[in-house]
Symmetry: C2
Subunit: 243 residues, 2 copies
DNA sequence: CCAAAAGTGTTTCCGATACACCCATGA
DNA sequence: TCATGGGTGTATCGGAAACACTTTTGG
């Protein structure tokens, strides 16, 4: 959110609302699913934490581009997976004026970035999804919606990929799925190492790089990468992709 | 879209765009998937066909409510399944001014309504999805997106239900899935009567009403209904719902 | 030498699929 | 009586799940 922009004026037959683009940014710390939030410096909800985002500018090419821009300005994160979640348009979401929010889900390889406070020196910080601070506006509801969608998607799409580095081990991938699906019943199915590996490798777009990850007191794990092209083919051909 | 509203004025630090709520309304004529469109009476795109919808009013409780209201005003349809699809926010979507559109998918039991022209006497009409007229704005793109999502959802959710009356036969339901999934490869799987029936009945939320549909030169088909409560339970418990 | 986690072979079992056949009805 | 579509029993096959065992490495 850039301050000190000149004032905008309108006159129209139709009402024009304020519109923001906010992102629910998920990361993975190796054990739990995390969420990137920004501490609010001013009223309303001063001191509470909010989703990265802000008002769409008339020069933003699209809402998605706005979410991307805001995220970069506020946290320095870019080059990530981003996808629309849902709009939130109820009356009373913001005490100042009516605001329509277009919410996005973003998936980041968390360790790839050292989060810095944004341009305006507000603090950005990762929180485990099961231990969130006080949230501003209706962002708690947005996060809940995002979590549901993420869990849903985990069944059909290889989203875990986007939370890891380009090269990853199967157990890293598996622990992500555990973290995402934890409250769900079908936990046990995934927990089996053997079956998880089978499913991933059979899919055809998890590629063995030949490299291995060393440095722990046990067998060196194989490093895999994700073949996006093969995945896209599979996606347009048939279905039944993940777990 | 109600005309003759008083003029709105603003002044704000942030830009405020015009926002519409449009619905991609699907129906089923017993054979093919249909789409409800409205002929445009004025410029731009005069004579082309557009999705039902219009500008969100400041009194609409939400974007979804606005889509619902517009649909009712323009076609008389209400009490239907409606769900958000995606927003479309590119520059240049509307030649007059920048417009952000929140698009919805609606599913209707087509034969339940006799479509009348709306308040403003514009014509509303059903078209088979594979034979659409000239479309206004970027509505062709929106429809394409909606079709993809519908096909996607058909695999995981019992959406076919919403295109039929409260009571329906299994073959009606099956022909809907054929119509939705037609271009897809896994057509053959569904085409088998036996397996389709098995899958539906095993799910637990397709209930035999005990009644039967007579009047054709063959066996009277059983009428089923959809148990929404059981479905919602199944949904929150596990997954793997449909085809 | 042990603990911890990687990696892989194999059996079992259930569910999806395919096929087949009978039934009811109106023309 | 016949064409049409509804309804249902069941054998087969493949893939998911469960289990078990070996391997590697740092402490």
């Amino acid at each position: 959110m850039i301050e000190n922009r000149e004032t905008h004026k309108w006159e129209s037959k139709y009402w024009h609302p304020a519109v923001t683009a906010d992102a629910v940014v998920f990361g993975f710390d190796g054990e739990r699913l995390n969420l990137l939030l920004i501490e609010r410096g001013g009223e309303p909800f001063k001191g509470a934490w909010a989703l990265p985002g802000g008002f769409i500018d008339k020069d933003d090419p699209s809402a998605e581009a706005a979410a991307y821009r805001e995220l970069y300005e506020e946290t320095g994160i870019k080059d990530i997976y981003i996808e629309e979640l849902k709009t939130f348009s109820d009356i009373g979401r913001d005490p100042r004026e009516r605001v329509i929010t277009i919410a996005f889900i973003a998936l980041v390889a968390k360790n790839k970035y050292r989060i810095k406070g944004g341009d305006d020196a507000k603090e950005a910080k990762w929180f485990p999804v099961d231990n969130l601070p006080r949230l501003a506006f209706d962002h708690g509801r947005i996060i809940k919606t995002a979590l549901n969608k993420l869990r849903q998607k985990a069944h059909n799409e290889p989203i875990g990929i986007y939370l890891l580095n380009k090269e990853f081990t199967l157990s890293q991938l598996q622990s992500i799925y555990s973290a995402i699906l934890t409250p769900s019943a079908d936990n046990n199915k995934i927990l089996n190492k053997r079956n998880f590996a089978n499913k991933m490798l059979k899919s055809g777009y998890i590629i063995d790089t030949g490299k291995r990850l060393t440095g722990h007191p046990h067998n060196a794990a194989k490093l895999y990468s994700f073949d996006e092209e093969k995945y896209n083919n599979a996606k347009t051909t048939g279905m039944q992709l993940m777990l």
